[in-house]
């Protein structure tokens, strides 16, 4: 029989991770199953839902770094290039994300300016900063504030979607203002880069494994 059958553990007394107990939880359905060694099973599947089982997300550090750096590079054209061109009564005006924010401030709707600024500028930048901080803290095997860092990760994962607001707003305006020389809105390349930043940062948050934060704690003990 396997080693697990012989091991008796009083979990109420001892904080035990799945890793130490030699089991792995399915990411998708949550079922625990016995961990197979690499040679036994190269690509184990969850016996219940059939999803790929990973002890930790594969190459989490390298993947997340790669995606963070890619998003960082795209963040510049996303903010510098115009997201849309507005033609109004024969005059064409290019709008970047920031000039859209200033437009709302000058027209008096400061609350909308705030929403756009936070969703389009602050959230992507904050996501990149937070993910970099988490990656560095894991690489330095930090054991400080693991709860707060895990919470920070969960927030990062949850807020990324709101950055899509500007993309949707551009789509609606492109569709509605389509009256030739009088009033026309065209999407600009900035919107493409911006969409890429949102998608890539979402993948980056997804590829980070928060359990790495806690693995450092286990090894210190």
């Amino acid at each position: 029989m396997g080693t697990l059958d012989d091991r008796y553990i009083e979990t109420a007394l001892l904080p035990l991770t799945a890793d130490k107990a030699g089991v792995v939880g399915c990411h998708t359905c949550g079922l625990l199953s016995r961990r197979h060694s690499e040679e036994e099973h190269a690509h184990p599947l969850c016996p219940r839902c059939g999803a790929r089982l990973h002890h930790r997300k594969p190459n989490s550090l390298a993947r997340t770094w790669a995606l963070v750096i890619a998003a960082l590079m795209l963040y510049i054209p996303a903010n510098v290039l115009p997201v849309m061109y507005t033609t109004y009564l024969g005059k064409t005006k290019a709008d970047t994300i920031l000039s859209g924010v200033f437009y709302f401030i000058s027209s008096g709707s400061w609350h909308l300016a705030l929403i756009i600024f936070v969703a389009s500028v602050v959230v992507p930048a904050l996501k990149l900063v937070v993910l970099s901080y988490l990656l560095i803290s894991v690489q330095l095997r930090s054991d400080r504030h693991p709860q707060e860092r895990t919470r920070l990760y969960r927030i990062t994962e949850a807020i990324g979607r709101w950055s899509m607001v500007d993309i949707y707003a551009v789509t609606i305006m492109v569709a509605l203002l389509n009256l030739g020389r009088f009033a026309d809105v065209d999407a600009g390349m900035g919107a493409v880069f911006f969409g890429a930043v949102v998608v890539i940062t979402m993948f980056a948050a997804n590829s980070f494994d928060p359990r790495m934060i806690w693995d450092a704690m286990e090894k210190r003990q």
């Binding site: 035990l16 109004y88 027209s107 969703a119 609606i172 569709a175 389509n178 928060p210």
Partner: protein, 210 residues
């Protein structure tokens, strides 16, 4: 030792926290309850009142609203006597026509396809389960539904619509259409669908290969 020791092999009585890997023993919850990780606070599992019935009802309602939201005009714009109607799909087609295929695809996927797949997928799974039948491909379909969940962004879309209305209102008259109200209702229904679903009611129907 006063209590008999627990055997780790009883794997389905345990759950590992997906955020910090700590093992917990599954404990029965109240009808409406959430079990959180004692170390990092992540939600481990939850119990919802009449999860199957409520989720199914919400998903059916969601699909109906979804079709109203996509088939009827969203916003009508009148400008110097010219009137223009938009549905969600015309915006996407206009983006595609302007050569922004990748952007059109992103909006189509996150705003239209993923939310629809999520709702219809849930109906496909929960309706047979309601009558104690197991739908074909249950594991694969539910895996796709769970995978797509963070990528359906109806609520973000609504905020985008509100932003564009404010921006356009300075140039022309914007008249909200029936679809806009359906969309507004859809946001709440999609949120209620997600909140009433206890994923374990589907997973527990699956057999475990040994």
């Amino acid at each position: 030792m006063t209590r008999p020791p627990v055997r780790v092999m009883d794997l389905d009585t345990y759950i590992a926290c997906h955020d910090c890997d700590l093992l917990h023993r599954r404990q029965p919850l109240a009808t409406v309850g959430v079990a959180t990780c004692s170390r990092c606070g992540a939600v481990l599992y939850r119990n919802r009142r009449n999860s199957l019935d409520r989720t199914l009802a919400m998903a059916v309602c969601g699909v109906i609203l979804f079709f109203i939201a996509n088939l009827f005009p969203f916003l009508t714009l009148s400008f110097e006597g010219q009137v223009q109607e938009t549905t969600l799909v015309t915006g996407i087609m206009e983006l595609y026509r302007q050569g922004m295929a990748s952007l059109a695809l992103l909006v189509l996927a996150t705003g239209v396809v993923f939310p629809l797949v999520e709702l219809t997928g849930l109906i496909y799974l929960l309706l047979p389960l309601k009558f104690d039948r197991t739908p074909w491909g249950i594991a694969g379909v539910f895996r796709v539904v769970r995978l797509l969940q963070p990528w359906g962004m109806t609520e973000v879309f609504l905020l985008g619509i509100l932003v564009s209305i404010v921006k356009l209102a300075s140039m022309a008259t914007v008249i909200p259409g029936a679809a806009l109200f359906a969309f507004l209702a859809l946001i709440f229904v999609v949120a209620a669908t997600a909140a009433s679903l206890n994923p374990d009611i589907v997973w527990e129907r699956l057999t475990i290969d040994t």
